[in-house]
């Protein structure tokens, strides 16, 4: 009886200290892509959220006399087909894409993790059904779901976020379920079960903390993907409505002037690319470190 009681406790402490050690290793030896990616992300976020103070001109101010001007001292990135300052529009135009993508990622992450963890804990039929649904939904293009729902309910924040979340939760669920299965057989989980802990306690105290880091890495990678998807929807005119600036919309509006003013198309695309690249690098850095920590821990 005594040994039974002490063994789980010892392993509980092991888990705690190793998690601390992991966290320390994580901070101390960050991968370079993580550093560069975070710097880039901070830059992009600062640009997007301080845009109203940073923008040199009113992003909506028309000036039909100076249309499609090349870059100059007054207009660093030139002007668009209505004579509006491209730099100002670029700065302000990120709010929609970044906000929608971020909210979508957070909701998908919470939903997917919960479904995955519960399926992984419950096992049996529930697990089987949940995972088969994930298998089937994971290849359904989210753009198609979004276009269908926006076509019916019209473009709005809610429709966009809802339609992107509808299939967006699947990768998190798959990963969370796999991680849960891995942790399920650990001694401290068995100990908690033997001690008669509540299901929710086991899930929130033991399982979820174990899934956070891999899922964080994946969510940064998915964030980049969402930025591109939302930009694409807005390119199709299914996001922000015209007078307001938006990166995807700016790309679409630049299309007819491709030859006359290539910068008009290159600039907003480059910003989407940099934003997506920053989070992809962060996610990649986290993945590398997680794998590194795992190899070291074995």
């Amino acid at each position: 009886m005594d040994t039974r009681m002490t063994a789980p406790r010892a392993s509980l402490q092991d888990a705690r200290s190793s998690r601390l050690a992991d966290a320390y290793a994580f901070v101390a030896s960050r991968h370079w892509t993580f550093k560069v990616g975070s710097a880039l992300l901070v830059l992009v976020l600062a640009m997007v959220f301080f845009a109203p103070w940073l923008a040199p001109y009113d992003p909506g101010a028309l000036n039909l006399i100076s249309r499609l001007r090349p870059p100059s001292a007054e207009h660093w990135l030139g002007t668009d087909h209505l004579g509006r300052d491209v730099l100002s529009r670029l700065l302000v135009g990120g709010q929609f894409t970044v906000t929608i993508s971020a909210i979508t990622v957070v909701i998908s992450l919470v939903l997917g993790t919960l479904i995955g963890v519960i399926a992984g804990r419950a096992g049996g039929l529930l697990d089987e059904v949940a995972m088969r649904v994930v298998d089937l939904l994971i290849s359904v293009p989210d753009v198609v779901v979004a276009i269908f729902l926006i076509g019916i309910f019209g473009p709005s924040y809610f429709t966009l976020i809802f339609s992107l979340t509808l299939v967006g939760w699947t990768p998190y669920a798959r990963l969370a379920r796999a991680l849960t299965k891995e942790v399920n057989s650990r001694e401290y989980i068995r100990a908690a079960e033997v001690l008669g802990m509540k299901r929710s306690f086991v899930i929130f105290r033991h399982i979820i903390p174990n899934t956070i880091r891999p899922i964080a890495a994946v969510s940064f990678l998915r964030f980049g993907h969402k930025l591109i998807t939302v930009g694409g929807l807005s390119y199709l005119g299914l996001g922000v409505q015209p007078p307001n600036p938006d990166w995807g919309l700016m790309l679409a509006e630049a299309q007819p002037y491709l030859e006359r003013a290539p910068l008009l198309m290159i600039a907003p695309g480059a910003v989407i690319f940099l934003a997506a690249l920053s989070v992809t690098w962060i996610g990649h850095g986290m993945e590398i470190e997680r794998r590194g920590a795992r190899v070291a821990g074995q």
């Binding site: 359904v140 076509g151 694409g232 491709l258």
Partner: protein, 314 residues
């Protein structure tokens, strides 16, 4: 084996049913009277006679309860009849078949080239982890994943169609018009294929049968070619199916940019034209096909290689 197959098929059928209900009912509940929309598209007179609207509604069966309408639609859909487009007045099923042919060609060209690049690149990266090729490959993957295809496409139009004038900038006439859109579509799958190939080859290279082959006196390259490539490409095949399913409708932005009459553009135009039958049919076709392809790939994977279930069960 049979248990797995029946289970997958059951869930497939249930999912298809849900998708078809959603696809049929949502466009009808979106407010706006389809009968009015049709009449408005036929005659440009805004003052429609109420009797005419009523007559058309009865003719289309729109006055019946939604469930009855759904069952009638499902019945004819199962026989390959999805009704007539409001916009073009052509049978929806025929339009979808045509668009599907285009999208399949586009998806297969993009994924085929992506695979041709990714397999050798991923293998080369896996041979020396942490080496120069591996580092370059990783950077390339990150860059490709972050590149918006609707940014790459206009740039490629600018370079190859406008400045160099060697490829068409839009349309779907001959094999040349496939090149630019396929290039734009292949970026992300190429990145993921390379990543999967690299991971699969790492697993393979550490497998005992490679050591055994080396012990029998084969060189590393021989061992990889004879034993590694076949095993390493299995996960890639699953990935290929996933991407193929995803690209059938997911290439919508590229199809719109290049004016390609594929599935994505069909759905997009159905939205723009408020073309209810086309929206219903197009959505069912895209989502249904991606689900079906996925199930087939899943079952095939198990059939081809039952051993994988054991070795990959972690």
């Amino acid at each position: 084996m049979w248990k797995v197959a029946t289970q997958r098929v059951t869930i497939l059928v249930v999912m298809l049913f849900i998708v078809s209900v959603v696809a049929f009912c949502l466009p009808l509940m979106s407010g706006g009277d389809p009968a009015r929309t049709i009449l408005l598209s036929r005659v440009s007179d805004l003052n429609l006679a109420p009797e005419a609207v009523e007559a058309l509604r009865r003719e289309l069966g729109l006055d019946r309860p939604l469930a009855a309408q759904y069952l009638a639609w499902l019945g004819s859909a199962l026989q390959g009849d999805l009704g007539y487009s409001f916009a073009t007045r052509q049978p929806v099923a025929a339009e979808i078949a045509r668009a599907l042919g285009v999208s399949i060609t586009l998806a297969l060209s993009a994924l085929g080239v992506a695979l041709l690049v990714a397999l050798p690149l991923g293998t080369a990266a896996a041979m020396r982890p942490g080496g120069k090729v591996d580092g370059f490959t990783t950077l390339l993957i990150q860059t490709l994943v972050a590149t918006p295809e609707y940014w790459f496409a206009p740039v490629s139009i600018l370079v190859f169609a406008i400045w160099l004038g060697i490829l068409p900038s839009a349309g779907w006439q001959n094999w040349q018009s496939v090149i630019l859109p396929a290039m734009a579509l292949m970026l992300r799958p190429m990145a993921y294929f390379t990543q999967v190939t690299r991971a699969a080859m790492r697993d393979v290279l550490e497998a005992p049968y490679i050591t055994a082959a080396r012990a029998r006196g084969l060189s590393m390259n021989q061992a990889v070619v004879h034993h590694g490539v076949r095993n390493g490409s299995l996960p890639v095949v699953t990935f290929f199916a996933l991407w193929f399913a995803g690209l059938l409708g997911g290439s919508v932005v590229i199809e719109v940019i290049f004016a390609i009459p594929g599935m994505g553009r069909l759905l997009y135009e159905a939205v723009v034209n408020r073309d209810v039958p086309m929206l219903q049919g197009g959505f069912v076709a895209i989502v249904g096909l991606s689900i079906v392809i996925n199930t087939i790939a899943d079952v095939l994977y198990v059939v081809i290689n039952p051993a994988m279930r054991g070795s990959h069960g972690h």
